[in-house]
Amino acid sequence: MFAAAAFPILPALIITPLITVAVLMLIPANRNSELKLAALVGTTITGMMSIWMLYAFEIADDGFQFAVNRVWLEELGLSWNLGVDGISLFLVVLTGILFPIAITATEPHHDPKQYYIWLTLLMSGSMGVFIALDLLLFFLFFEIVLVPMYFLIGGWGHGNRIHAALKFFLYTMAGSALMLVGIVSVAFLSQDATGGLTFDVVQLAEAQALSQTAQRLVFGSFALAFAVKVPLFPLHTWLPDAHTEAPTAGSVILAGVMLKLGTYGYLRFGIYLFPQAAHDLAWIFLTLGVIGIVYGAAVATMQRDLKRLVAYSSVAHLGFIALGMFVLNTQGIQGAVFQMVNHGISTGALFILVGWVYERRHTREIAALGGLQKSAPIMAGVFTLVMLSSIGLPGLNGFVGEFLILLGGFQGARWWTVIAVTGVILAALYLLWAYQRVFHGTPTEENASMPDLRLSEGLAILPLLVLIVFLGVYPKPMLERIEPAVERLVVHVEANVDGFEEPGPEQLPAEPATADDLTHTLEEAEAEAEAKEEAESLGGEG
């Protein structure tokens, strides 16, 4: 709580991209490389600052750090209230990392100036969503990010881009309309308990002033907005369209950052503000999550467009995250937060790779590709690593999240988890099948001459590959930063829901057993057997 550094790092995360936007406006529209450089520098500085936060972050502190709280409009109760805890920290860092990578990895085909302005603006908004602790401020950012994304898809997308952009915009807009009402309602209804109108999420959560019915209704209005964003089945159909038609950078940000607005929203606002309602209605989200896992995988399997396949795999992955969150125990939620970041890394990388294939071959049709491992072995190797991360191979990042989610899930929602685990089989099926058709086999003439990764491309994606391996082998630094905030949330739920106890194992070993304990166990077994033998021989004699 008191770790506020002298440097206002959180406002800087929002403002630096805005300054970059201003700089971009000053550069003439035809100076392509200068524009790219400016955007890259601005987003990289922002990213570096977010990474610096990792070091400055107090591990043991379960509250909000780097906090800034300035009253903005007093009569409205609106304040410039920012803070980061273990739940949001890595989403901020993910945003900080993905934007520079998305900018490096691909270039717009026209109007670079507007393109970079929209992207940088999007970064500012995305940062804002994850660090806002004031409900109205959060809503502002939550809605504002739609605009740049709308223009990115509509302006630089493929195929039926206008339709996809409009669908994306209207769908998510419609979803969040009720949330504004919910926000205002919860603030007004809590007015007495909080001693004045406030939109401070911590105060509102601590107050718990809503009646059961009101809580459910308001939670419902939040939940709908987030469900569209996640997206949860059956509200997911904007996603394949938007992902497929968006330009590569758009898809990366959409999958990597914007889908997390929904899952993050559930944790920060849904469960935190309305623990009772979230607990009572958890079965709905568990069910939708599990349906998403199986359904997303099944539909992904049958896709003919590689990018659409990746898009549907997101539905499955986000289903896992929903399952983890609504089990309401440490492993589940921690796994969910971990998986939010993983999904950003692996799916972001997958979209970049598919984008590169498209740039070279001008098609994403799986049937038109084939044998690419022969012409582009390095790209095939990179794709393999990312694919295995997405499948959830132990030793890579995807596994850690998926494992914790399912481990937690099994403790609290056993049968949902049993079905969810089938998603692990299906993920292998659709990804390996796609890989086989795209990379294995003997290439046709067009595929045989496809150029391999360039050095610059390799360097652009390298950070993601390093993260995939590092987080799989040594997730502890990340897990231990997430854990206190998650535990605080779980304790908060336990405190505010009657009779609720965090689902966990039936017993815990007092101390981890050692080699000596094994020796002891062995000796005991031997002694027991000896005694038994003796008794038998005595009995035989008698």
């Binding site: 209704l217 399997t301 937690g408 086989q436 294995h440 086999g441 854990e483 070993p509």
Partner: protein, 793 residues
């Protein structure tokens, strides 16, 4: 010395990382030597740790080495840590030992492959994963290795990815194993739920102390059994292993015979306290699954003609024995047979690889034979492997298999009977393989059925061309006939006309008299008409002759067609009756006389005549010799005669926590059982010699039924995946487009339509948007009122 444990997996892992960075630059053969060296060092490290363990007091042969905390989350935590005990080190010894030999062999086998260094990169990664699997001190570390070996298996099966079958086989292996992983993951979650930890030390101490109820333990056993059935290729998940032979042969030897496929059995052995805590029916299930798998796979092996596929089914069958052993609590026997099997099956696979290597990549045993003369070292060592697997004393397989059979006898006579029949079948199909490959004359140079077909196909084609030519000739002839016929008709008409003219003239003349006007004219006309009739008659005769001629021509042409058709028949007959290699080959199958059509055989045949089947280089034969030595004498690690000779049983005792089943049979029974097993093996060998060497009896009788069995499982699965399974996915993806998304799009269109009606002047986007805002405001207002009202009351 125990502290060196981490080096065992770390060395091949370092080899992998070095090869990722430098592999291409090192190239052939340095990359191979680097990988082999790392394996050898890992073997040395294992020996050091082994020595350290031996030096400890028996009850203290446990050592847990924690490297760092891997996944901590709330009350859950696992380390990257290793559990060193007799069980894990026994596994490590044969993994690194056999692994080193197979790495060495691969240096020779993969010679000239464009992806030489990549092969060794995968091989080292595999070894590291396998060692993590057995050394891990918790279920999650084992799972790390478990999935790691699965991924490497996928990479290596589809190593030659240009061929679609290879790519499919790799995918099939991975996905089938994932079905097993479903059980593994749930098993892990269940263990955490029940005792709050997935570390082996905790599981063992807690379970031995009775913390696990029989129900939970049984459920866990079934889940881990599913996992093990995937990795160890048991019914119903064994289908991937025969296909996995698409990978290079060293891979089949290392991964799909000696090490990875045993990890399921290792897992169940490691969890022996849980098996002991479970209800008896749970472990009995394991035993029966193993026994049935052993039998079914052995039956399927009999009809295989691919030298590696025989060994693949044989591996499935032998793994069935291991399952059977674990199921009846004979952990030591399972480990014993696992070790001897690792030796003799690796030997057999590498031997078959050597034969394939020396025969221009030929894998069909029907095209082998007489290899004994061509490749003496390969043959001698292979024969040792054959004797070992067939259960001939004193070779290693006899001792370990006999051990399992005795335990099976005590558990259930049915299990024993199935085990015995499997032993009989094993000796039979292995003898068949040895005879087809090494005995008799070499059939390698014989023309293949395709080549013979190729030789005679030209004759048929020529004859067919003759028919076509004759057919062409008939056309014009028929036309000529028609033309002549038309001419005849014309002439007939002309004749009729001339006759009528003559008659008319006669009548006219009769009606008139001399001196009348025009009388002379009429006489002239009559004279003219009189002349016309014979002329027309002559023309008609001529036309008729022409017609007859044309008909004759047609007949000639038709006869030509018939003649040409006859030629086709002849050519077809020639092709059909051409000497062909028999479908069911025995050593006495006679050679084909090709002298009559040798020059007509295609290029591939003549090229092959210049090929010289050759013995493999020392890098390949040295591992064969070493493995043959081990396969011969490995029985010595656990001889049944006196308690002092039970070295392995004694050594493994600490890891088994007295959960090993105890034999109660008398020495006499054991001797009888052993003799029965020997007798069965000898009978099978003699029978196979009779059929395949002496040519007595018809191999067709046996092989057809066996083949049908092998195919059934596979097609049933493929039919499901390709049929209803795929259809379901198709339906879902259709529904997603038409119903789930259709509803959304439908609402969109409605709104748009309503908007158009309401405000015809506004352009598209703004129109939709403003309408939405209006609607949203209305809904929002209502909602707000409701909430405030609720809050107020």
């Amino acid at each position: 010395m125990l502290e060196a444990a981490w080096l065992i997996p770390a060395l091949p892992l370092a080899g992998f990382m070095l090869l990722v960075l430098l592999g291409r630059r090192l190239g052939e053969p340095l990359a191979g030597w680097l990988a082999t060296g790392m394996m050898a060092l890992s073997f040395l490290a294992t020996l050091v740790v082994f020595a350290g363990l031996v030096a400890e007091d028996e009850a203290h042969r446990f050592f847990i080495q924690t490297i760092f905390t891997w996944v901590p989350s709330g009350t859950f935590s696992v380390d990257v840590g290793f559990l060193v005990d007799p069980l894990s080190i026994t596994m490590c010894l044969f993994i690194t030992g056999v692994g080193t030999l197979i790495h060495l062999y691969s240096v020779g086998y993969m010679h000239g492959d464009p992806n030489f260094s990549k092969f060794f990169l995968y091989l080292n990664l595999f070894a590291a994963s396998m060692l993590i699997l057995v050394l891990g001190d918790n279920l999650l570390m084992t799972f790390l290795g478990w999935e790691g070996v699965g991924a490497c298996s996928y990479f290596l099966i589809s190593f030659w990815f240009g061929k679609d079958e290879n790519a499919s086989a790799g995918k099939k292996a991975f996905v089938t194993n994932r079905i097993g992983d479903f059980g593994y993951m749930l098993g892990m979650f269940l263990m955490f739920n029940a005792i709050g930890s997935i570390r082996y030390a905790d599981i063992i101490t807690e379970t031995q102390a009775g913390a696990l109820s029989a129900g939970v333990a049984s459920a866990a056993v079934l889940l881990f059994m599913l996992a093990a059935a995937g990795k160890s290729a048991q019914i119903p998940l064994f289908v991937w292993l025969p296909d996995a032979m698409a990978g290079p042969t060293p891979v089949s030897a290392l991964i799909h015979a000696a090490t990875m496929v045993t990890s399921g059995v290792y897992l169940l052995t490691r969890l022996n306290p849980v098996l002991a805590a479970a209800d008896p029916w749970a472990t009995t299930t394991i035993a029966w699954i193993g026994a049935i798998t052993a039998l079914v796979a052995a039956l399927a092996a009999i009809s295989q003609n691919d030298i590696k596929r025989v060994l693949a089914y044989s591996t499935v069958s032998q793994l069935g024995y291991l399952f059977l052993a674990v199921g009846v609590g004979a952990y030591v026997a399972a480990l014993f047979h696992m070790i001897t099997h690792a030796f003799f099956k690796a030997l057999l696979f590498l031997g078959s690889g050597s034969v394939i290597h020396g025969h221009d990549d030929e894998q069909d045993m029907r095209r082998m034979g007489g290899v004994a003369k061509l490749m003496p070292i390969t043959s001698m060592t292979f024969i040792v492997g054959w004797l070992a697997i067939s259960g001939v004393p004193p070779f290693s397989g006899f001792w370990s298999k006999d051990e399992i059979l005795i335990y099976a006898w005590e558990a259930n006579i049915g299990l024993w009977a199935i085990g015995l029949v499997t032993a009989l079948l094993t000796a039979f199909y292995m003898t068949r393989q040895v005879i087809m490959t090494f005995f008799g004359r070499s059939r390698f140079f014989d023309p293949t059925p395709e080549e013979i077909n190729g030789a005679f196909v030209q004759g048929v084609l020529d004859a067919e061309a003759g028919v076509a030519a004759a057919n062409e000739a008939v056309g014009p002839a028929n036309e000529a006939v028609e033309k002549a016929l038309a001419d005849v008709t014309k002439r007939e008409e002309a004749l009729a006309k001339a006759t009528v003219t003559f008659d008319d003239a006669t009548t006219a003349l009769a009606g008139s008299s001399e001196g009348d006007d025009g009388y002379d004219k009429l006489v002239k006309a009559l004279t003219k008409a009189e002349k016309g009739v014979p002329k027309a008659e002559t023309a008609l005769v001529k036309a008729r002759d022409k017609h007859t001629e044309a008909l004759a021509d047609v007949q000639v042409a038709e006869e030509a067609i018939d003649a040409a058709r006859l030629k086709i028949g002849e050519a077809e007959r020639e092709r059909a009756t051409a000497p062909r290699p028999p479908e069911y080959v025995t050593a006495s199958s006679s050679p084909i006389d090709v002298s009559a059509f040798e020059d007509r055989l295609p290029e591939s045949y003549h090229k092959r005549q210049e090929y010289h089947p050759h013995e493999s280089p020392w890098t390949m034969t040295l591992p064969l010799v070493v493995l043959a030595g081990l396969a011969a004498v490995a029985g010595g690690i656990n001889l049944p005669f006196t308690k002092d000779l039970h070295f392995l049983a004694h050594w493994l005792e600490p890891s088994l926590f007295l959960n090993e089943a105890k034999l109660t049979s008398s020495a006499g029974t054991k001797w009888i059982l052993a003799f029965v097993a020997i007798a069965v093996g000898v009978v099978a060998i003699v029978a196979a010699f009779g059929v395949y060497l002496r040519g007595k009896g018809d191999p067709k009788q046996v092989e057809n039924k066996s083949l049908a069995l092998a195919v059934t499982w596979d097609t049933a699965l493929a039919a499901f995946m390709g049929g209803p399974g795929r259809k379901l996915f198709d339906v879902l993806s259709f529904l997603d487009k038409k119903v789930v998304d259709g509803a959304v799009e439908g609402v969109g269109h409605r709104v748009q339509a309503a908007g158009t009606a309401a405000r015809k002047l506004q352009p598209g986007f703004v129109r939709q948007y403003s309408l939405l805002v209006v609607m949203a405001t209305a809904v929002v207002g209502l909602f707000m009122l409701t909430v405030l009202w609720l809050g107020a009351t």
